[in-house]
C-alpha cells in the first residue's frame, strides 16, 4: 500500500508543475504580460514596480520569467496584492479555509440527501414515485446554482428574513459554530443539491444492479425483506464505485463552489478569484488559481488512495 501511495503522490508533482506552467503562460495573454500594466502606471511608485519586476522578471525571456516566478512561489513569496496591500499568500490562505467549509458542507448535504434519495427510489416499488424522483433528479442536475442560489437568497433571506443575507458570520461577533452553520446552511444546500440529483441516480442504479445479483435473489427467494436486503447486501457493494464517483466530482464541486460563493457573498477562494480578476490583481489571481488546482489534485490523490485502500486490485495495476 505504501509503495502505491508513494507512486501516486510522486506522480502528482509533475501534474502540478505542468499546470503552473500552463497558468503562467495563460497570464502572458495581456499584451506584454500583466506586470506591464503596472509598470505603465505613472502613479505607481518605483518601489512597487521594482517588486513586480522581482516577482515576474519583466523584460526577461518567458522561460526565465517562469522559473523566477516558480522559485518565488516555492519560497513562499507569492507576490503582493495591490488590491489589498498585503502579501498575496496571506490573502489567499485566509480564504482557503472558507472554501473548504463550503465544499465540505455541500459534500455532506449531497452525500446524505443523495444516498437517502437513491435508496428511497430503489426501495419504492411504485413506478410513479420512481418516475417523479427521476424527474426531480434531472431537474436538480440542470438547475444552475446561481439561479437557485439567487432565488433562495432573495426569497428566504431578503423577503422572509429566515437566512442571513450572505457572508460567513455575523459581523463583529466572535467566531461561533452555530453562527457559522447558520450562514453555511443555505449555500451548502444550494451547492449540494446539484450533487444530490446525480448521486441519488448513481446510488439508485447501483442498488438496482446489486439487487439483481444472484445471491440477493436467492435471499429474496428465501423470504428476506427487501429493505433489509437493500441495506445489508446491496449497499456496501454500491459504496465502492460511489467513492470513485465522489472523487471524480470533487473538481466540479470546487468549481461549483465558485459561483455559490459569489451569490452568497461567501469569502472563499472562488469569489476571491472573481474579484481579483475584475480588479486586475494578478498576483492574487495566480495564487488563487494555483491553490484551487492544488485542491483538485489533492482531492484526486486522496480518492486514488482511498480507492486503493478499498479495492486491493487497484494497487497492483
Amino acid at each position: 500500500m505504501t509503495s502505491y501511495a508513494l507512486r501516486r503522490t510522486l506522480g502528482a508533482i509533475p501534474r502540478v508543475l505542468l499546470v503552473s506552467l500552463l497558468l503562467f503562460l495563460l497570464l502572458q495573454l495581456p499584451a506584454g504580460g500583466p506586470a506591464d500594466v503596472f509598470a505603465a502606471d505613472p502613479n505607481a511608485s518605483p518601489d512597487a514596480i521594482r517588486r513586480i519586476e522581482e516577482l515576474w522578471g519583466l523584460n526577461r525571456p518567458v522561460h526565465e520569467q517562469y522559473l523566477t516566478w516558480l522559485g518565488n512561489m516555492l519560497r513562499g513569496d507569492w507576490g503582493f496584492s495591490f488590491g489589498e496591500r498585503r502579501p498575496a499568500r496571506v490573502v489567499v490562505l485566509e480564504r482557503l479555509g472558507n472554501t473548504l467549509w463550503l465544499t465540505g458542507g455541500a459534500l455532506l448535504v449531497g452525500l446524505v440527501a443523495g444516498v437517502a434519495l437513491g435508496v428511497a427510489t430503489a426501495a419504492t416499488r411504485r413506478r410513479s414515485v420512481k418516475a417523479a424522483l427521476q424527474l426531480l433528479s434531472v431537474l436538480g442536475m440542470s438547475v444552475p446554482t446561481f439561479w437557485s442560489g439567487t432565488l433562495v437568497l432573495l426569497y428566504f433571506g431578503v423577503r422572509l428574513g429566515l437566512i442571513p443575507s450572505g457572508g460567513m458570520g455575523t459581523i463583529g461577533q466572535a467566531f461561533s459554530l452555530p453562527d457559522l452553520l447558520h450562514h453555511l446552511a443555505a449555500p451548502a444546500i444550494v451547492l449540494g443539491s446539484v450533487y444530490v440529483a446525480q448521486w441519488s441516480r448513481f446510488v439508485h442504479a447501483g442498488l438496482e444492479e446489486a439487487m439483481r445479483e444472484d445471491y440477493v435473489r436467492t435471499a429474496r427467494a428465501k423470504g428476506r425483506h427487501r429493505g433489509a436486503l437493500l441495506m445489508r447486501h446491496a449497499f456496501p457493494n454500491a459504496a465502492i464505485p460511489l467513492a470513485t464517483v465522489l472523487g471524480l466530482e470533487l473538481p466540479r464541486l470546487v468549481a461549483g463552489a465558485m459561483v455559490t460563493e459569489v451569490v452568497f457573498a461567501w469569502p472563499g477562494l472562488g469569489r476571491l478569484l472573481t474579484e481579483s480578476l475584475l480588479g486586475r490583481d494578478y498576483p492574487v489571481v495566480m495564487a488563487a488559481l494555483m491553490l484551487l488546482v492544488l485542491l483538485v489534485i489533492t482531492a484526486n490523490l486522496l480518492t486514488d488512495l482511498a480507492y486503493g485502500l478499498l479495492d486491493p486490485r487497484v494497487r497492483y495495476g
Binding site: N43, P46, R85, G172, E275
Partner: protein, 519 residues
C-alpha cells in the same frame, strides 16, 4: 417577622442587583453600523482618490480645519482659524501661521505636534509616491516650526485656497513617528492605521467590513457609543440591511435605491452638501478622440435629460459645464450641446467618418469608430447610464464596448491611460484646486494656456477675478468638448431616525460622528 425578612432580602439582593446592572451596562457594546457601497483599497490617507475611502478615513484621522454645516471654516487640530484679522494670515496672503492644539494624541499614545504636519506635507508632495490629488500642498515653499505647536506655512505666491485644502479632500494629518522612513505603499499601516480621530482602528475583514472602536481620549469629546462598523454592501445587500434595520447610515446610495429608501419608515434620505457631478471622462490623447468632431458628436448624441429623468428619477439636473450650479464659480454660459443626433451625425460625416459598409458603425481610413467605455461594476444606475449612452451613440454610428472593473482599480486604470471613455463622478472643493485638471489629468487635456488660467486661481485674491478665470476655463473645455459632463450628482445618504447629531458638511458625512447619539 415578615418585614425583617424583606429587609434582609433587600439588603442582600440590592448590591447584587446594582452590580449586575453596572456590569451589564459595561458589558453591552453599543455599536453604530455604516454601510458603504465600495471598499477602500487602503486606509493610509492621500493614496486613494475614492470619496468613500475619504469618508472612512474621517473617522480615524483629523484635518487642521473642518468646514461647518454652514460652510464656514472651523478649527480642528488647529486651535483657531488663521485670518488676516487675527494675524494668522499675512497681509499678502503668502504666509499662514497655525497654532496647533497641545492636547491631541495619536491612537498609540504619542502627542501630535508640528513635526507631523511637516511630515504630512512631505508625504503629499513626495514625487515617488502615487498621490493622485495634492491640493495646494505642492505650492508650499517651506514650512517652519518655531515651536512644537506652531506651524508657519509659506507659499511662493498669494494663496487663498489653503484653508479649503486643509479642511477637506487632502487634509488628513498623518503620524510622522509611525511612517517616517518606511516604504509606504506596502506598509502594514495601510491595513492598520494610527490616527488622531474619534475612532481607533480595530479590524479590517476584506470584502466584509472595517471595525473601529471609540477613542475615549478624543480631543473633540469621546463618542457616545463604543463601536463603529463600516460594512461594505452593494445595492442588494444594503437594501436588506436597511430593511432589517441593521444600519444607522447608508452612504452614497445609488439612484436605483432612491425610491426604495424613500419608502423605508425608519429612515430618511438626506442630501449631503457637495459640489459633485456625473461625467464621462474622455481620453483626449486617444487616436479617435483626439478629433474634436468626434468629441462634439458624442456630446450631441447623448440625451442627458432622458437619463436624468429616468435613471436619476428627476433628482439630478443635466449639466453642460464641468462645475455644478451649486458652486460659486459655475459658468452658466458655456457652449451647450443639446441632444441632436442629426447634428452629431453630420459632424461625423464632415470629419470623414462614414458608414461605407452599412453595418451601422462608421469607419474612416479603415478604422472603425469603436470606443471602449470603462465603468465601475456593482451599482445599477452606473450600468443603466452607460448602456443608455451606448444605445444612443449606436444611433449616430458610434460603436462602444463596455468594460466593467471594480472601484479600487478605477484610479490606477485611469492614470495608466488605458481607457478611452470612462463613466464616474467627481467633486470639487469649495475653494477649487482642480485636481481633475492639474492633478490627475486623466483626460490628458493639453491646452496649457487654459490650464494656466487655473493655475493662477489660488493666488488671485479677488473672488470675482477668480470666478472669471474659472468660468473662462469652463467655456474653453465646453468649446473643445474635452470632457462630457452629464448631470449634477446629489450625494444621498440614508439616515436612521434613531440617529441624532448627523450633520454632514463639505468636510464629509462622518466628520462629526463623535457627536452622534443613537436612541
Amino acid at each position: 417577622m415578615l418585614e425583617s425578612i424583606h429587609h434582609l432580602a433587600l439588603r442582600r439582593l440590592l448590591p447584587v442587583v446594582i452590580a449586575a446592572l453596572v456590569l451589564g451596562s459595561a458589558g453591552a457594546q453599543s455599536r453604530v453600523t455604516v454601510l458603504s457601497p465600495q471598499e477602500p483599497a487602503t486606509l493610509l490617507p492621500h493614496l486613494d482618490l475614492l470619496t468613500l475611502t475619504h469618508e472612512v478615513q474621517q473617522l480615524i484621522f483629523d484635518c487642521l480645519f473642518v468646514v461647518g454645516e454652514d460652510g464656514d471654516y472651523l478649527p480642528n487640530l488647529a486651535a483657531e482659524v488663521p485670518t488676516v484679522a487675527n494675524g494668522g494670515v499675512s497681509a499678502d496672503g503668502t504666509t499662514y501661521t497655525i497654532r496647533l492644539r497641545d492636547d491631541v494624541s495619536w491612537h498609540d499614545g504619542e502627542r501630535l505636534d508640528a513635526a507631523d504636519v511637516v511630515y504630512t506635507w512631505r508625504l503629499i508632495t513626495d514625487p515617488d509616491l502615487p498621490v493622485p490629488a495634492r491640493g495646494v500642498w505642492d505650492k508650499i515653499e517651506a514650512i517652519e516650526t518655531p515651536d512644537p505647536y506652531t506651524v508657519v506655512v509659506r507659499f511662493a505666491d498669494t494663496n487663498v485656497a489653503f484653508l479649503g485644502t486643509a479642511s477637506s479632500d487632502s487634509c488628513f494629518v498623518v503620524p510622522e513617528h509611525a511612517l517616517a522612513g518606511r516604504e509606504l505603499v506596502e506598509d502594514p499601516f495601510n491595513r492598520a492605521p494610527i490616527g488622531t480621530g474619534a475612532f481607533r482602528f480595530e479590524e479590517w475583514q476584506s470584502g466584509a467590513f472595517i471595525r473601529l472602536s471609540a477613542n475615549p481620549a478624543y480631543f473633540g469629546g469621546a463618542p457616545a457609543f463604543d463601536e463603529l462598523v463600516v460594512r461594505f454592501a452593494g445595492s442588494q445587500a444594503a437594501r436588506t440591511s436597511l430593511q432589517r434595520g441593521e444600519a444607522e447610515l447608508a452612504l452614497h446610495i445609488g439612484f436605483a435605491d432612491l425610491r426604495f429608501a424613500q419608502g423605508l419608515e425608519a429612515y430618511s434620505v438626506e442630501q449631503a452638501p457637495d459640489h459633485a457631478w456625473w461625467q464621462f471622462w474622455i481620453n483626449n490623447e486617444g487616436p479617435i478622440l483626439a478629433d474634436r468632431a468626434v468629441r462634439r458628436a458624442l456630446t450631441h448624441g447623448l440625451d442627458k435629460r432622458l437619463i436624468t429623468e429616468t435613471v436619476f428619477g428627476g433628482v439630478a439636473d443635466p449639466l453642460d459645464a464641468i462645475l455644478p450650479p451649486s458652486h460659486w464659480a459655475h459658468a452658466d454660459d458655456v457652449r451647450a450641446y443639446p441632444y441632436d443626433p442629426e447634428a452629431a451625425a453630420s459632424l461625423l460625416e464632415e470629419a470623414g467618418w462614414t458608414d461605407a459598409d452599412g453595418d451601422g458603425v462608421r469607419e474612416k481610413d479603415g478604422q472603425r469608430l469603436s470606443l471602449e467605455i470603462l465603468n465601475i461594476a456593482g451599482q445599477a444606475d452606473r450600468r443603466q447610464v452607460v448602456q443608455i449612452a451606448q444605445d444612443l451613440w449606436r444611433d449616430v454610428g458610434i460603436e462602444t464596448v463596455i468594460r466593467e472593473i471594480d472601484g479600487a482599480s478605477f484610479p490606477p486604470t485611469m492614470s495608466s491611460g488605458e481607457y478611452q471613455l470612462a463613466y464616474g463622478w467627481f467633486g470639487e472643493n469649495q475653494e477649487p484646486v482642480f485636481g481633475l485638471w492639474l492633478g490627475t489629468n486623466w483626460q490628458n487635456f493639453a491646452d496649457e494656456a487654459a490650464l494656466d488660467l487655473l493655475r493662477g486661481v489660488s493666488s488671485t485674491v479677488e473672488r470675482e477675478a477668480r470666478a472669471e478665470a474659472i468660468r473662462a476655463f469652463q467655456r474653453t473645455v465646453a468649446e473643445e468638448a474635452a470632457m462630457l459632463p452629464l448631470s449634477t450628482r446629489p450625494l444621498l445618504n440614508v439616515v436612521s431616525d434613531r440617529l441624532d447629531g448627523y450633520r454632514p458638511s463639505l468636510s464629509g458625512s462622518l466628520y462629526n460622528a463623535h457627536e452622534w447619539t443613537v436612541r
